[in-house]
């Protein structure tokens, strides 16, 4: 009996797949159980395993102290605010970009534009952030020079030192860095649309704008919906690298987000339980957002992620 089971199943293949499972247990599932830290008081402990076993549960104490934190409102409004900015401006940008690129008839123009606009995606935020900071610098930064020459401003503006500009800087720099690459997925979706639809529409007398509006857009709608749902569920996730690079002491009131706060308080000040609670709080809201937006999308658009 045993030997037939051994023969029936392919154990070598099982072994290979289990390598992945072991990896996920070590680096994903065990940390998930670390969530209990949020319900204990382990701030500042040195021996983690010992503290994990011995410290008593304190319920939602860490969550309550996060909500009573004087920075709580700032952090939440910055995190959501910047993401809403991104949802309104950065989300549609690559769709429009892909549609425009799709209308280009000269292949070499299309290829050149693609090569240039994909490039920043592969540069780190450290480099790109450094470039953005120097472009915006009040000492002869190119943006200030151009704005002064156009007569829009009289004195150089310290863009990075004024908290009010921060959200816009994050949004615009994010669009420039990511628009080309984000458009790839829409271009792939456009390439998948049946050409016969365009031919039929042309015969029926549809012009280019009508074909764009009635064939291309509906053709990529399901891709758009899926990516929209995913970005809604990411409403509390920030691009850490980007915000950390652009952040400084002067703009902190508008630039501190959950992710940067967790890093500063959790790692440097060793407030493990407090920041794990912040992380759990974030995951819970992300889950509710994904579930809720998926449900709404299923009801009103007839499709969801799952």
């Amino acid at each position: 009996m045993k030997s037939t089971i051994l023969k029936k199943y392919n154990w070598a293949v099982f072994f290979m797949a289990m390598l992945g499972v072991v990896f996920l247990i070590l680096f994903n599932y065990i940390p998930m159980f670390g969530i209990v830290i949020a319900f204990k008081d382990m701030d500042g402990v040195i021996n983690i395993t010992k503290a994990l076993a011995e410290k008593p549960f304190v319920g939602f104490k860490n969550f309550i102290s996060f909500m009573n934190d004087r920075k709580f409102l700032d952090i939440i409004s910055n995190t959501i605010g910047m993401n809403v900015f991104q949802l309104v401006f950065s989300f549609p940008a690559p769709i429009i970009f892909a549609l425009l690129l799709n209308e280009v008839q000269h292949l070499w123009v299309k290829k050149t534009v693609q090569t240039i606009t994909y490039f920043p995606y592969f540069i780190s935020w450290v480099v790109f952030g450094g470039v953005v900071i120097s472009m915006l610098s009040p000492d002869n930064g190119i943006i200030n020079v151009v704005l002064q020459n156009l007569g829009i401003i009289k004195e150089p503006v310290s863009f990075m030192a004024n908290p009010d500009y921060f959200w816009s800087i994050v949004t615009i720099s994010g669009i420039i860095k990511g628009i080309g690459w984000s458009a790839v997925i829409y271009l792939a979706a456009i390439a998948g649309i049946d050409l016969a639809l365009y031919e039929a529409a042309t015969i029926d007398g549809a012009n280019r704008f009508q074909r764009m509006l009635y064939i291309t857009l509906p053709g990529i709608l399901s891709t758009v919906v899926i990516l929209l749902l995913l970005s809604i569920s990411n409403l509390l996730n920030s691009s850490f690298d980007q915000i950390y690079m652009l952040q400084n002491q002067l703009n902190l009131s508008r630039s501190e987000v959950i992710d940067t706060y967790v890093y500063k308080i959790g790692i440097s000040e060793m407030r493990y339980s407090f920041t794990t609670a912040v992380g759990v709080f974030k995951s819970a809201i992300a889950f509710i957002l994904l579930w809720g937006s998926n449900m709404l999308s299923k009801r009103y658009l007839g499709r969801g992620i799952y």
């Binding site: 199943y9 392919n10 293949v13 099982f14 290979m16 797949a17 992945g20 499972v21 996920l24 070590l26 680096f27 994903n28 599932y29 940390p31 998930m32 159980f33 670390g34 969530i35 830290i37 983690i48 395993t49 425009l100 690129l101 209308e103 280009v104 008839q105 050149t112 534009v113 090569t115 606009t117 994909y118 592969f122 540069i123 780190s124 450290v126 480099v127 450094g130 470039v131 120097s134 472009m135 000492d139 002869n140 020079v145 420039i176 080309g180 792939a188 998948g192 012009n207 891709t223 690298d241 967790v262 890093y263 959790g266 790692i267 920041t275 794990t276 992380g279 759990v280 995951s283 889950f287």
Partner: protein
């Protein structure tokens, strides 16, 4: 109607070309500044080409010990991390792609669940601490060995390879490992190239893990060095012993030295990008077409 379409085309081309220039220009701006003498740069007006050519900014950057540690660690993690990550993920994906895998559905869900849920930064940090990976070079390699996203792309690709090839190899007496290494890997060169590049770019660009999982300067990566260079208020703050001639120190500026640092740490990507661009894009198509 024809006229308005022409107008749209003009507008479209001008817009796209202008946007490309806006994307490209910052890099030219930084490149020009990095080759310009520091004190002269402060007078403004260096936009396209260096006005007073100088290599002093690069001399300053190359005088910083942290740069050498950074290059060492970044090159080591990029080479080792890419090779190990690629091979490990490909091997697991081969197992995942086979139809005769036991508990196939359960293992798939076990993988997919991690895409939607994780413990957060602090539990991850503490677990790495327990494993002894904090302040170890291996923290760059081990946690990045496997990626569920890349596994899905690999497995999809492996499934496209005709089953007859596998069958005939089995008839010839090859075991699964031989089939993977001798047949499947050589047949998947395009997808291997794409994923290798993604992993490579990830390793080259990451600084977050270096910043939180290491405290020793000898273990820190090139990008983290650049973070410090950009965030430092003045020159030489982190440079233990500066062995630069006085006339260089008097003419460089923190801004232009930063530019030199930016260029040095992005040179490899600048150099290879035009040649590998098509492989980078291919993977998105592979992933998105099959969902």
């Amino acid at each position: 109607m024809l006229k308005s379409m022409k107008k749209f085309d003009y507008f479209n081309y001008i817009f796209l070309i202008l946007f490309s220039c806006i994307t490209l220009y910052p890099f030219i701006y930084v490149l020009a500044g990095s080759f310009n003498q520091g004190t002269d740069y402060m007078n403004g007006g260096v936009y396209l080409f260096p006005r007073v050519f100088s290599l002093d900014n690069y001399k300053m950057v190359f005088n910083d010990k942290r740069l050498y540690y950074g290059i060492q660690n970044t090159v080591a993690r990029t080479v080792l991390g890419t090779a190990a990550g690629l091979l490990f993920t490909a091997l697991v994906s081969y197992g995942m792609s086979r139809k005769d895998l036991i508990l196939k559905k359960q293992i798939y869900w076990f993988n997919l669940f991690t895409l939607f849920f994780n413990g957060g930064l602090i539990p991850f940090f503490l677990v790495l601490k327990i494993y002894g990976l904090i302040n170890s070079f291996w923290v760059y390699i081990l946690p990045n060995l496997y990626s569920v996203f890349n596994m899905i792309i690999f497995a999809n690709y492996f499934r496209e390879i005709p089953e007859e090839i596998h069958e005939s190899a089995v008839v010839d007496g090859a075991n699964e490992f031989t089939i993977f290494f001798r047949i499947y890997l050589p047949l998947s060169k395009p997808v291997m190239a794409t994923i290798a590049l993604w992993i490579g770019v990830f390793h080259w660009n990451s600084f977050f893990d270096s910043m939180i999982f290491t405290t020793e300067p000898k273990l820190q990566t090139l990008q983290l060095f650049l973070v410090k260079l950009i965030k430092e208020a003045s020159l030489g703050q982190g440079q233990a012993n500066i062995r630069v001639p006085a006339h260089v120190l008097n003419t460089v500026s923190i801004t232009t030295v930063r530019y030199a640092g930016i260029i040095v740490s992005s040179v490899p990507i600048l150099l290879v990008y035009p040649f590998v661009q098509k492989y980078l894009v291919k993977g998105v198509m592979l992933g998105s077409v099959k969902g």
